[in-house]
């Protein structure tokens, strides 16, 4: 028991210690490489932290192995395109009705199929369902294809898609969360009954499907042609506007700052403030829930589903709930990321970066612990970015003893892959020396 208490005390010191280290790294980055780069890393780190929070809700609280973070993230990223881009003139009037009709047909067909499946028995059931689905599919394509053609023909080099609603970007954040939540609900309804590792693979696949859709449905988001120039969220200014504003320039100069540098930093700080607000809100919400009977119930379900069900807990419902909520948080992060980047590039979603790296963040931070996710998100992102910089140096040092020539050149050429190596080694080290993460669940 006494040793127990000691462990408790060290873990109480742990979190502040690691957050201090994290802050120190960011500060160090600021002093050595400039504040721009430090804030850049911090911002993206915080975004990653939000993603990690979402994954942690699913994995850490409920033991749901969602290996499809990438998909929900990408879906969230669709929101800024649909909400805050200007509408494409003529697109909606041209193709909108066709597409809506097509979707209506699709939904009706699916509902009809489900109804038949539930209400019929025997051989006719399979036949009827197949027939309904086939007819539905062809009607859908018959309505859908021409509409898409119309939309995609409108100014393809810059538009060729439905365009957005031209609303403020901030609105797209919750919308991103809702989009992801909606998809998660559908996924959850079908896949949550599966065993944990199967769920992982199923979600991995679903994520691929979502990204495939975003890549290939040009009418929706220009597909691989990318959407550029997504407006920034209020109140983040544009650097150019700041630089052109005499007030700002004067202010900066009075403080002894280079106005241009100042403008970039102000922009990043503005994003930082937005992100921190979102994170604090999420942390408050999640910590409150975790520390209450709800959290206890979730842990119980994670520990033993059969027994939790026997104790009257509706496991399926709870799983669905947490899956949807976690995905919503990931979707939120996706929307935020797109408004930070200012562009939506569906090809950039790859599982290594957006599923596995996030999982690494959760595990390194300490699964089940929200603060751990924040820490993991920022730290791992820092390392991921820095490893790209360190790579050549490390490789140079490694290659130094070799004579000049093909092999040495080969090694030096390989420097960029150091990032992978460093990432792998860090992950292995953490798992080795602090297997429950840097900030273990209490």
């Amino acid at each position: 028991m006494s040793s127990n208490r000691q462990a408790g005390e060290t873990s109480r010191l742990r979190a502040p210690l690691f957050f201090a280290i994290m802050a120190a790294l960011i500060l160090l980055e600021g002093f050595t490489s400039g504040w721009n780069s430090a804030l850049g890393i911090l911002n993206m780190g915080l975004l990653s932290a939000i993603m990690a929070l979402g994954v942690n809700m699913q994995w850490g609280y409920a033991g749901l192995f969602n290996a499809g973070a990438m998909g929900f993230l990408a879906l969230g990223g669709l929101a800024p395109v649909l909400i805050s881009m200007p509408p494409t003139p003529g697109a909606f009037s041209g193709g909108g009705p066709g597409i809506m009709a097509a979707f209506f047909v699709a939904i009706v067909a699916v509902l009809a199929a489900v109804w038949i499946w539930r209400n019929l028995r025997g051989k006719t059931r399979g036949l009827a369902v197949t027939a309904v689905l086939i007819v539905g599919f062809f009607t859908y394509r018959w309505l859908f294809d021409p509409a898409v053609e119309v939309i995609e023909a409108i100014n393809p080099s810059a538009q060729g898609n439905l365009g957005g609603l031209g609303l403020p970007t901030l609105i797209s954040w919750p919308v991103g969360a809702v989009l992801a939540a909606g998809a998660a609900w559908l996924v959850g309804k079908t896949a949550l009954g599966l065993r944990s590792d199967y769920l992982a693979i199923a979600t991995l696949g679903i994520a691929e499907i979502i990204v495939a859709i975003l890549k290939n449905e040009q009418w929706l988001d220009r597909g691989v042609l990318n959407v550029n120039g997504i407006p920034r969220p209020w109140p983040v200014p544009y650097e150019i506007d700041l630089q052109n504003s005499p007030d700002f320039v004067a202010q900066m100069q009075s403080w002894g700052f280079d106005p241009q540098l100042g403008s970039t930093i102000v922009v990043k700080l503005a994003f930082l403030v937005l992100f921190v607000i979102v994170i604090l809100a999420l942390i408050w919400l999640t910590e409150m829930s975790l520390k209450s009977p709800w959290g206890r119930m979730m842990r119980a379900i994670r520990d033993n589903e059969i027994s939790a069900a026997a104790m009257g807990k509706n496991v399926t419902r709870r799983h669905l709930q947490i899956f949807v909520l976690g995905s919503a948080v990931i979707g939120l992060a996706g929307a935020m990321m797109i408004s930070l980047d200012g562009q939506m590039t569906p090809t950039s979603y790859n599982p290594l970066r957006y599923t596995f790296l996030i999982l690494v963040m959760v595990i390194v931070g300490g699964s089940g612990n929200n603060w751990g996710s924040i820490l993991g998100g920022v730290l791992i992102w820092y390392v991921w970015v820095k490893a790209g910089d360190w790579g050549p140096d490390i490789m140079g040092a490694l290659a130094a003893p070799f004579p000049d020539g093909g092999f040495k050149d080969h090694l030096i050429q390989s420097a960029p892959h150091m990032r992978m190596l460093v990432m792998g080694i860090i992950l292995l080290m953490v798992l080795r020396f602090s297997p429950r993460g840097l900030l273990p669940e209490k």
């Binding site: 829930s289 209450s292 009977p293 709800w294 206890r296 027994s307 069900a309 104790m311």
Partner: protein, 286 residues
Amino acid sequence: MIRVENLVKSFGGFRAVDGASLEIATGSITGLIGPNGAGKSTLFNVIAGVHEPTAGRVTMDGEDITGLAPHELFHKGLLRTFQIAHEFPSLTVRENLMMVPTGQAGETLWNTWFGRKHIREEEAALLKKADEVLDFLTISHLKDEKAGNLSGGQKKLLELGRTMMVEAKIVFLDEVGAGVNRTLLNTIGDAIVRLNKERGYTFCVIEHDMDFIGRLCDPVIVMAEGKVLAQGSADHIMENEAVIEAYLGTGLKNKVKAEETAETAAHEDHGAQPGLGDEAGHGGDQ
């Protein structure tokens, strides 16, 4: 209270429960015994909604409850414990108890944010109750220990303790006694009787310890090969030839100690089934 009609449960081709019909009367402590593999646990699992029955029907107070999900049954007041303890290993012992009652306000997300006060009150009450149960089970010194670290028997106690956290109508106990110290088992027996008398719980108990069954249960149902073999009072059952043949047996044949030491009589009392001859036949002898 519970009525099982012609229940069949097969795994692949094998009928683990093969047309069992039985009834558990309200307010009784019904014992369920039978050889290993008789289908007792399977029957429990079907009643408790873990398995879908292959055929047959289960009713509770006249209402058809066949195939309901476990959590729905829980709401109807039907609780069960597991033969192999199913604790929540990363929750503390106390939390294992406190999580049991359903419909806690604190289990709704909204309340965790905007109903804190209500939750606090509710929790205080739960805590008190949990501590009472732990005291009762003599494991209050373990209340802050992770349940995963308990010994085999302690987990069993915890298992029972969980049924005491709510107002149950009927509790199914699958071998609470296996691996539990006999002194403690007596205590558990007392608790069961008390719950039965004072709170009106109905129990259905699977157990292989005949002392325990004999002390507690009336009636006793004997299952064998998926069917009900016999039914009646404990004394009655213990004299039933078929039950003896299939289940009870006739005591140790190799009473080494008894043969070697002179004071055989002193030990005869402790033999499993006094009064039955060693020669009563069944296979497996050398």
